[in-house]
Amino acid sequence: MDNTLFGYLNYAVYGTAVLVILIGLYGTMVKKSLLKVVIGLSVSDSGLNLLIVAIGYYKGGTAPIFSPGFLENFKSVSKMVDPVPQALVLTAIVIGFGVTAVALALVIRLYRHHGTLNIDEIKNLKW
């Protein structure tokens, strides 16, 4: 793959990730339905995770796993992609799931009390 195409990917990957974060935040801030708000959070989390993994990628890199045949060729360590962002994303995904579950439980409870998910009818959540 030649370099100009790859330079374009710079904008494509990060641009998409940031766009997805913004779309999610837009949904969170504008939408009236509580479930839509939580969906927005989940979407923006996805964009964020893509952004973090993309930082660890190197052109032509290999996965950070030392398979048996790999060891003879020790120089190729420098060809591995960065494992640190991957480890951080693992943590972030699991934490994000926990937060989403808590938010959904709150949605269920608010529905139990109000019989609606419309943010306008739930007095304290208007802003």
Binding site: M1, L5, F6, L9, A12, V13, T16, L19, V20, I23, G24, Y26, G27, K31, K32, S33, L35, K36, V38, I39, G40, S42, V43, S46, G47, N49, L50, V53, A54, G56, Y57, G61, T62, A63, P64, I65, V81, Q86, V89, L90, I93, V94, F97, T100, A101, L104, V107, I108, Y111, T116, L117, N118
Partner: protein, 94 residues
């Protein structure tokens, strides 16, 4: 080249799915769109040489998050504007 096209297409699909999930009035379809985002992400992670993350995203994002969203929708309302509350959900899944 093929790698390049693949990534571009996946990124475009991801944007489309996220826009769809925000503008769709039917929350069930919106949630399915977030599931599709996770599916695309998981392929992207694989292409970005992050198999561990891909596995996690495939299981958490595609299966678990989607299902707890669906359960929540089942327990609350399906449409964003809530004009006809539960009827459509029941008829759609049965």
């Amino acid at each position: 080249m093929i790698y390049f096209i693949l990534i571009s297409v996946l990124l475009l699909l991801m944007i489309a799915a996220s826009v769809y999930s925000i503008i769709q009035k039917d929350l069930l379809y919106a949630v399915l769109a977030t599931g599709i985002i996770s599916l695309i992400l998981s392929i992207l992670y694989y292409l970005l040489q992050a198999p561990d993350v891909a596995l996690t995203e495939a299981a958490i994002g595609v299966a678990l998050t989607t299902i707890i969203f669906v359960i929540t929708i089942r327990n609350t309302v399906r449409m964003e504007d809530e004009s006809d509350k539960k009827e459509k959900f029941k008829s759609a899944v049965k």
